[in-house]
Point group: C2
Chain length 597, copies 2
């Protein structure tokens, strides 16, 4: 078996052959996907570092890996002996990759990277740094791929066609609507690389990437012509007929880059820099004027139609039911039976798999006890994960992919006797979640406006949670989707997007105390209109998630009457929604778990 040292040696040999001074290896795939298939894990292959966020820069003798605070301990361990220096991203005095490159590289140096996996947005900073230093930037090589022995095959799983009864809107309609949006943006053609956008547009689903039912694809809309590039092995006869009936020109995924170079595109060309890769950006900018905007499909698919909403309401009840049953079991048995975090996650995943229409998890289940729950993206290890025992909190954040929707929910349980401070934190998180869930707001509001409704009760304690309050949730697609989000500070490059009726967003405030405990309560909310009057159009949220909130953590004397009423109303609704499915002693349990306080 080859080691990281051997791999770096092979890479440097290859670098010599192509006269590269530095090789930049980022974490990404050609489509800007959130989860990366194994085939694209070049950074992991070269460095041995397995975290989900990392940027590797390899020089002739030196090498550097940037990752964030979640992974410092792990990276330190995994990089040991590799000669790669850990760059603690976010720590004071640690330069970002772009600043480092600007400082380190000399005029005339050759910097190589695989431009297909570099986002065109990410590149801007590096490109700027590079331009100022007059470094040569070569982006059409894949040096890691060249030396990777036994590289996992790129996936090409069969693609399925979703029936209209699941999507609520056929592809002709969607393409028609998209054409109008392209025109509205002042553009004449559009290149789509985001897999989720393409799946939505063509009513297709695939299985090429973990937790997201998408298939590798590229789409070019050129005036009235639509080109869809798919992997040959993924195309069935049925699929081909389906697409060709709509006059969509199906082409092999493998020839996309050559084809794009040859193609005459009507300008201006609409692109979304957040998902477009740098290689395509380079090709397109030679063809004509580019118009940069949020991909119109991103906006279109974020507003769910009435059929999608009907399915969502249905599947969320089924998903809530499973989560509620799991939570009851853990609460009553975990401590007695010495269940550990990993076993608990496995149990929940299996229970969820029993739901009709289940197609997989929407993200790896977070099952965390005690201090582990303070780590927002904790994944319980297979070996020696913490045993759930009395005296602390157990947090579970999980969701599934189903025919009929993508789910996501978090609850935190009190196991045995827990101290008052943690109850105080829990009570505040519940208040925060409920206040946002019950907000009424004018159309036009963004998540930047609404975030403080949830955050203020936490800020009042002199505490903060270092993440957004909510993210968009896809429909049978990514569990995180744009364009709207609930955060008080947006990414500087992105304008805040209004929250519109039909959007589904998570509502997940929390309290995280490093080394002690973590609390998060997460419901998914559907935005709906209440009324339009002379002051404008008023919107509110309706929960899709109906799972009891652990009353053992509630300090009633620290709640306002309005907060108590919101909690009781929510629990009454939970009881109402889940009761039809309850039998035997479950009936009494549900009544007790959702009783008014």
């Amino acid at each position: 078996m080859d080691t990281v040292l051997e791999r770096l040696k092979a890479l440097r040999k290859r670098m010599d052959e192509v006269q590269a001074d530095y090789y930049l290896c980022v974490t990404g795939d050609p489509h800007g996907s959130e989860y990366i298939a194994d085939h694209y894990k070049t950074r992991e292959y070269l460095s041995g570092f397995t975290g989900s966020n990392g940027t590797l820069l390899v020089g002739k003798k030196d090498a550097y890996l940037w990752t964030d605070g979640r992974y410092f301990v792990q990276a330190e361990k995994e990089l040991e002996g590799s000669g790669i220096k850990l760059m603690r991203d976010g720590d004071e005095g640690v330069p970002k990759p772009a600043a480092f490159i600007k400082e380190k590289l000399k005029a005339g140096d050759h910097l190589h990277t695989d431009g297909r996996v570099l986002s065109s947005g990410f590149d801007m900073e590096i490109a700027d740094a590079i331009k100022k230093k007059r470094v040569m930037f070569i982006t059409d090589t894949d040096l890691a791929g060249d030396i990777w022995k036994k590289r996992p095959e790129d996936s090409a799983r069969p693609i399925r066609i979703l029936p209209d009864k699941l999507t609520g809107r056929n592809t002709e309609d969607k393409i028609q609507k998209l054409s109008v949006k392209i025109k509205d943006a002042g553009a004449a053609s559009h290149v789509i690389t985001s897999l989720e956008e393409q799946m939505w547009l063509f009513n297709l689903r695939g299985d090429d990437i973990k937790c997201t039912p998408v298939a590798y694809s590229y789409t070019v809309i050129n005036g009235k012509d639509v080109y869809l590039y798919l992997k040959k092995e993924a195309i069935s006869k049925k699929l081909l007929t389906y697409l060709e009936q709509m006059e969509i020109c199906v082409k092999p995924y493998e020839i996309f880059y050559e084809d794009l170079e040859r193609m005459q595109l009507k300008a201006p060309i609409l692109i979304d820099p957040s998902s477009l890769n740098f290689r395509i950006y380079q090709i397109l900018r030679m063809k004509g004027k580019l118009t940069e905007a949020v991909g119109p499909v991103t906006r279109l698919k974020s507003v769910k139609n009435s059929i999608e909403i009907k399915h969502l309401k249905d599947i969320y009840i089924k998903d809530s039911l499973v989560l509620a049953r799991f939570l009851r079991f853990i609460k009553e048995n975990a401590a007695k039976k010495k269940i550990n975090e990993y076993e608990a996650a496995l149990m929940l995943d299996r229970m969820r798999a029993g739901i009709k229409g289940f197609n997989g998890l929407s993200f790896p289940t977070i099952s965390a006890f005690g201090a582990n729950a303070a780590m927002m993206h904790y994944e319980a290890p297979k070996e020696d994960s913490a045993v759930i025992k009395e005296g602390s909190l157990y947090l579970v954040d999980s969701g599934g992919q189903y025919d009929g929707g993508t789910t996501d929910a978090t609850r935190t349980l009190f196991i045995g006797d827990v101290n008052r401070k943690q109850k105080r934190h829990f009570t505040r998180v519940v208040i925060a979640m409920l206040r946002l869930q019950n907000a009424i707001f004018l159309k036009g509001c963004t998540g930047e406006n609404l975030d403080v409704i949830a955050r203020e009760p936490i800020w009042q304690m002199g505490m903060d949670y270092k993440c957004g309050t909510g993210h968009g949730v896809g429909y049978m697609l990514g569990v995180h989707e744009g364009p709207a989000a609930i955060r008080w500070r947006m990414n500087a490059k992105k304008a805040a997007e209004p929250i519109l009726p039909g959007m589904t967003l998570s509502n997940e405030p929390g309290v995280y105390v490093a080394g002690s405990h973590g609390i998060r309560i997460e419901n998914i909310e559907l935005c709906e209109e209440i009324e339009t009057n002379e002051d404008g159009t008023f919107l509110h949220f309706v929960p899709l998630t109906y799972v009891p909130i652990d009353l053992d953590g509630i300090l009633k004397d620290e709640m306002q009457p309005a907060d108590i009423e919101m909690l009781n109303n929510y629990h009454a609704a939970v009881c109402d929604k889940l009761m039809p499915f309850m039998e035997g002693d479950d009936v009494m349990w549900l009544k007790e778990a959702t009783k008014a306080i």
Copy 2:
């Protein structure tokens, strides 16, 4: 006396002489001031329309005046017989001036305007419209001025120097700090046209504009050189010595434009398009690269220093005391004595004038009874203003300019028996104001984040107030100042600015029901730091305003215990702050007015 018809005739004759096809006359002065001195009221002179917002376009035979909804009735009346067509700005189907010009003017047409009073920002739209139509745009004429008989003299009142004990920081320090900011913005020179910025920088105050203690001036910072242009008549020997000792080059205001044309400026030149006029913009863009940004002085002056804060706290108590006494008098006597809105305003203005250090009002007092209070910018007419009587609400919004600060406060009083609906609205407004006043938030927050804390209780009723929740307040300067504001929607051109310790902002939610009643409660808040811990730096507001809130309007049963506690705490503080100044039956009155509910 000449009539509007005669004035338009004279203008058209002048237009013929210079071969102008259209004359555009906006409302503004060369410094982007909020209040305009009479000398610059050309639009009013030409059209007869006296409202504060209007844009006039005069053709050879036709003429058009744009104004907003506040002024439709008044404009209709004032324009009668003038042949000027009223353009109801904001109404559906009514084009904006830029769109109208684009539609109406033909290629080759000559459009004249006085570029000195046109903001460089405003012009962009018009310039764009004009460029596309290939219309000639001549901006160095003042045709209205040419024909204006008995035009009011441009003001040149004496300028006074503020002592360090009032400003807390001398001009050398301020210039030093500004130089750093210019450099930080990547610029080498800076032209300042905002009068408030210049007054702050040089620790001067003037009397050229109503309600704002400023003097006409221009400033050029060119590398290390500082040029200050002032009106000759405004410069005393003492002032000249003061400025020259600091090596500030004093020049006549009148030669500024010629001087600027001749001057060699180091590029890039920093400009703030929100206050810069178009004429200067035209001159500067020929000189070198322009860097557009919020004027650094705007940011510097918005953060009050400890000396300024000491004076502010002191003067706000004195101002609060006067307002409290006035409110008591109105509450107890208005109905009995048949006092009208205008008399009430006059009375309050006179009481305020008795405060030591008073230099004038900070804006015309809004004194409004019943339905008049629903108009946000109502000014009671001298003749036949409404009499304050039982059965509705009286709103007073007022403030003063003092040595030691600029004040602004609003209270709404219940006169006699008022129905429950209005009490419900009042209670909500009080809750809204108190929740924002008691907010705790992380440094970095903007008014776009915080606005909903006040607005949510109003939105919960399915109502909205059509204005921001708060504006910055100057120190012995404009009562409205940037860069921060508390609004949920910012002007598209302006990024939201963080609210920082030392800033003073108004907190003034309201309810306005057209034809019925208006409610506004306004305190000025000082932002202060609470603590810095591992989660960040936490800020909050401390009120500067201490005036009782009318308890007759409060429905205790519609408040949460936390809201009641905030009200009682605020009233306890009001009692505490004002009691030392109370004598006789005032003592009992204050206790009653601020009693815990």
